[in-house]
Every structure is written in C-alpha cells, then in structure tokens.
Amino acid sequence: MSIGIEESPMPGGRLLHPLMQARSDSGMGRMLFLSVAAHLLVALLFSGWFVPQAKREERPVYYVDLISRPVANPQAGRPDGGGGGKAQGNPPAEKGVAPAQSPPARNETAPLPEKVSKKAETVALPTKAEVKPGLKSEAKGKPEAKPEAKAKTDPKPEIKPDVKAQAAAKSTEQGYQQVLSAVAALQKKRESEQQKEEIASLQERIAEMSRRRGDGAGNGGGGTGGAAVAGGSGVDAPLGMPDGTGNEAGVSSSLWLQTFFRSNWRLSKYQVSRADLETVIRIAYDADGNLLRKEIVKSSGDRIFDQSVEDAVLKSRKLPMPLPAPFEGEVIFNLRDLQQ
C-alpha cells in the first residue's frame, strides 16, 4: 500500500510520513483511506497544479504537401506523399500551390524521419524546427543544416556534396540525377527493412533538392517542388494516412485543412504578449472548397490574435482543392507549438 508513497519523488512523500505512522494503530478502512488520499495527492502533485511549468503534452504532428488531395477514405501511407505522389494518380500539381506556403513546405522535409517502416508513420517534426519560419530567410544561405541521421548507412557517398551550401545549381542538378538513379538501383533489390530506410532517406534528399531547385531564386513558390518530387515514383510508403484503412490516394480532409490553415495563418510572436491565447472559429465550406460561413465561436480576448485568425480564413475563401464532402466545423487556433 505504501509503496506509491515511499517511492514518490515528490515532496508529498515526505509530507505524509507522520500520517503513515498513524496507520499501524488503525483499521483497514483508515489505511485504505490514507492510501487513496496519498495517491490522490501524488496524482494532484503531478497534475500540474503545483508545478506551474507543467510539461506540455507531446503528440505527433503531421503536415501534408498541400498538393495532396483531401479524400474521404485515405489508404495507409504517408501524409506527405512519401515521394510517390505521381504513382498514386495524383496529378493536379499545378493547380493549387499557394505561393505563400513556401516556409512550411520547406519545414516538412528538413528533419528526417528516424525510421520509415512499411507504414511510415513518421512525419512528426520536432517542434523546434517548425517554429522558426521567421528566421528562414536569413538562414537560407546554408541549407546544409539538415540533420544527417542517415549518414551512417548512406550507400552513395558521392552525393554528399550536393547537400552542402556551396554546391552550385549545376552540381545540385547532377546530384539530383545521381540520386534518382541511386533510388532506381535500390528499388530493384529492395528486400530488407534496412534498404527501405535508405530509400526513404534518399527520397527525403530528393525532395529537399528539388525544393531547392524550385525556389533557388528566392522567396517565391517553393511549393512547386512537390511536383518534381513526383518524378521519383513507384517507391514504398504511398500517399495516405498512417492510420488509413480506405482505398483512396490522399490524406484525410481534416489533416489537409489543418495544414492549409496553418500555412495561411500569419502572426508574429511579437504581436501578442501572451502565449496562452486560443480562438475557436466555426467555418463552413462547400464541397468545391468555397467558404460559406465563418464565425468566431470563442474569442481569445486579444483583438490582434482574433484578427490574425480571421485573416487566415479570409485568405482561404476558395480552397485550392475540392473537398470530398462539405465541411462545417470548428477550427482551434492557439500557440501551443510556439516556443517562448
């Protein structure tokens, strides 16, 4: 009974000690009461009531290329398309690439998934990487900041220089071709999990490079890189959802909308003085993607914050993709992933 208390790392354990001594001369009921109380206390201590900086819950964050199609019953796969977008019959690349989405698009591929299994559920980003698109333009000169998680198993050392910042556009081009052929070679004899990992990491590299090719000129439409990615087709991890059970190539509509609103939402952390702001807005779209209604259901209390949320929706009067069904629902905007 007392184990939970004795082992508790919190001061609660020490606090309760005198109470524990009283236990010996009382009945079972009292002991039980004490135990329950002590457990409640421990639970309370850990609940964050007494620890103001309670640890924020972690949860996987998926982002999709907005050229992916929102569907009703997505198949199993990766929400960012895994580089196999074209093979899955997802042609409308030129249709809906909002020019403003380049920073988030770049973020998607920067950190590599540690492990890409058959289901490939990893596009979860460390929050740190995604928080700083504001700094992006300054950091652009050095794209080599990419994590090299796969370096140990890299079968093609000669492609390495491409990742370096100094690489001229030409060598990027060459490297791109090299990587393409490397992927093709690997595909022929892919049997082990190990090789799948290599392919996945090479895909990431292609995506990165083609993006760099796509917006080498500057801020412009980086999103078009996705179209080039589609060239590396036929690999594993098709476009879909990690938990997808359907048969359509595409991502779930809510994930698609989440990414879309995020990419359209613009707010500087220096515009608001608090990080605990949250606005809930109710939005309705028809199946063609036309905005029908918007209404703030719960205001954050901060005029600037609310307005930025409304702006994000106003920028989305017409979605670049049709939805599988009309949408009506609440969208929550907050700053939980913003580092202070």
Binding site: P52, Q53, V61, P99, A100, Q101, P103, P104, T127, E130, V131, K132, P133, G134, S137, N219, S253, S254, L257, Q258, F261, R262, S263, N264, W265, R266, L267, S268, K269, Y270, Q271, V272, S273, V280, D302, R303, I304, S308, D311, A312, L314, K315, A325, F327, E328, G329, E330, V331, I332, F333, N334, L335, R336, D337, L338, Q340
Partner: protein
Amino acid sequence: MKFYSHLIFLVFSAMVLSVTSWSAPIEVRAPGQQAIPVAVTSFLPMAGGGPADVAREFQEVVKDDLEFSGIFRFIDPEAFLSDAGRLGMESSQVDFEQWRLLGTEALVKGGYVLEGENLVMEARLYDVLRGRLLTGQRYSGRRQDVRAMAHAFADQVLKALTGNMGAFKAKIAYINDQTGFKELYMMDVDGNQPTRLTSHRSLVLNPDFSPQGKEIAFTSYRSGNPDLFRMEVYSRREASVSSRKGLNIAGRYRPPAGRELALTITEDGNADLFIIGTDGRVSRRLTSSWGIDVDPSWSPDGERIAFVSDRLGNPQIFVINVNGGKERRITRTGSYNVTPAWSPDGERIAFSRLEGGRFDIHTIRPDGSDERRLTFGAGNKEHPRWSPDGRFLVYSSTEKGKRGIYVMRADGSGSRRISSAAGNSFHPAWSPRW
C-alpha cells in the same frame, strides 16, 4: 410517445452525422508564417519638387524601427509595381491587388511637403488583405524633426499591428566619459543625436527618468560626495535632492506619479534603502539589515521594489512590499546577481549575473520562477533597463572592447549597438515616450 420517437430519431441522426462527417475539431497549434510582409515605399512630394533625401531619411528610420521590432519581413523595393510611384493615399486610390500579388500584407505609403525649413509628413499604414487604412498620421515641424516624426510613425504602426504603442519616439539617457569625465548624455533610441546634459567635471552615474519623462535623477560627485540630483531636461536646471553624508545613489522615481524616489543612503554607516520625496525629505525607511541594500527597481504599480542585498553573503535579488511585509529572495541560482529592472508589464525582472568571470543578462518572474538567460558570448552585459513598452532592453556591453550601449528584444534576440564609438558608454535608461 410520438414526441419521444421524434427525439430518438433526432439524437440518432445527429450521432450518425457527427460520425460520418468531421467529428474532432481541427487544431492549429502555431502560425505557419511568423513575420508580416511589409512594404515601405518611398514617400513622394505632395507639392512641388522638394528634395527626396528627407523622404529617404524618414523611410530608413521607419524601416530600422520596424525591423528591430522583429515583427516584419520587408518586401524588396525592387519588386514594387506602379502603385508605389503613385501618391494616392485614400484607401480607394491604392491598388491593393498589386500589393497582394507581391505577398504584401502591410503597406506604408506617404507624402511630404518641404517648404524652406518647414516639413509636413503624411504617413499611412494599410491592411492590404482587407484593403483598408489602419492608421494615418500627419506630422508637421522643422526639417530636423524628420527622425522624430519617423519614430513616432513607427510607434503608430506597432500600435496598429499589436495593440500596444511602440517606444521608439523616446530618449536614452546614459553616462559617457569621452570628455575625460563621466557625464550624463542623452540620445535617440537608435543612437542618433547624442547630447551632453551635464558639465560637472567630476563623476556622474546612474540616471533614471521620471515617469512623466521630462526629468532625470542621477548621482554626481560634483561636491565631493555622491549626492542625488534631479534635472529638468528641457531647461537643464538641476537641483540636489539628497546630499546626506555617505552614499546617495541609484535613485529611482516611484511610478506612477513620480513624486517619490527610492535610493540607497549610508548616512548611519550601513547601506539601506529609503524612500524620499522629490523635495529630499525621507518618507520611509525600507530596509535595515546589516547587509548592503542597493539598486532598487519599482514594480510598475509602485507597490513593490526589487533590490540587491548581500545579507546572505553574496549579492542576490530580493523583492520587498513597500507597505510593509517581509523581503523575499527571488534569485536562487548564481552567486552574484545584481541590477534588477522590473518590466513595465510587471511580469518579469531583468538583472545581470556574474558567472565564470562575465556578466550576462537574465530575466526571472517576480516570484522567482522561470529564469531565462538572454545574453551569451564575449563581454560583460550589464545594467539592463526596459523600454517603456516592454519590447526591448537597453544595456551596456563590452563585447567590442569599450563599453557601449546596446539594445535587444526582450527575448534576447536582435541585439545591436546604438552608442557611438566615442569613449565608454554605460548606465543606460530608456525614457517614457517623448
């Protein structure tokens, strides 16, 4: 009975609907874009030709201020389309579609009239997305006021986009030794127009602006003893406030009225904190510990004071309630924490800590929690003071050799030197909006 069957049907269909369509709400946990793209156009002459350099100066100052705020990303003027060359300043005359094409969300346009030495500036900030005017200001003054006009407009831009007025149209008081003596100076927040205020030819230290802004308290050894003075900035008239035997140092005006000052007096042999009226009479003794109690800093409501005391053996930051109550130690780490400065919103206290032979600036909550380090790298960073809008900190640093005045954002980013290279500059204080 019929009613119930209807009800059951309704509930059932509602359940079916909620399952088939979008049940869980979508949560967006961070903005995808965290800088506002702004276009700052060259202001155009509204009458006559007029030289463009005055417009260029205005534009540069506005851009510098906005850049320092950290909120913006500037659209390259090379990309500007025809609307940038048109004066039309009514919302209906601006071609917002052009600006949307460039991805601009905020647009600064304006015009000016320069006749002789008389300058009129008309400045506008537009919300491009909604196609409407956010703020419009008309400034008239002399040619040399153009920088002040630009700072004032930058403050308005921040107000329009954050809800809080900026603090660029303000002054920074500081001490400089270029004459061979440490004298009191004042400059713009970007370091322009440094002006010497005192000629004591002795040692002047530790300036503080009154909450109304037009008065500075400082300590001077002018008559051999460190006495507390106050000076009316416009007339430069000075008066001694406290010239008790021993130290009369680090005077800080009590907000919000500024009719009292907290300072350290050593008249009875020990350094303790007192509150005195601006006429110099002691209204209250705050501490009477055996240790040295120095560097008071008021909470914005004027009810509490953060200060430094070495009563526990080494200097640490304490907070005391002015109307009685126990002193509470708030810094728990580090063995040398000094010069607290309470933020204008009351949420944080900045201070400098000596660690590994170097001073660096940290902030902490007034309850002692959530300590954060703001500065890194070479040099001593000392004497932090807040801008009145709480966005920035001004401090002195030796990172480039000599001591200079630097500013940075309250999160430690964007630091830049503002004082000129002449002599050593230190002990800064940011005035209220001027």
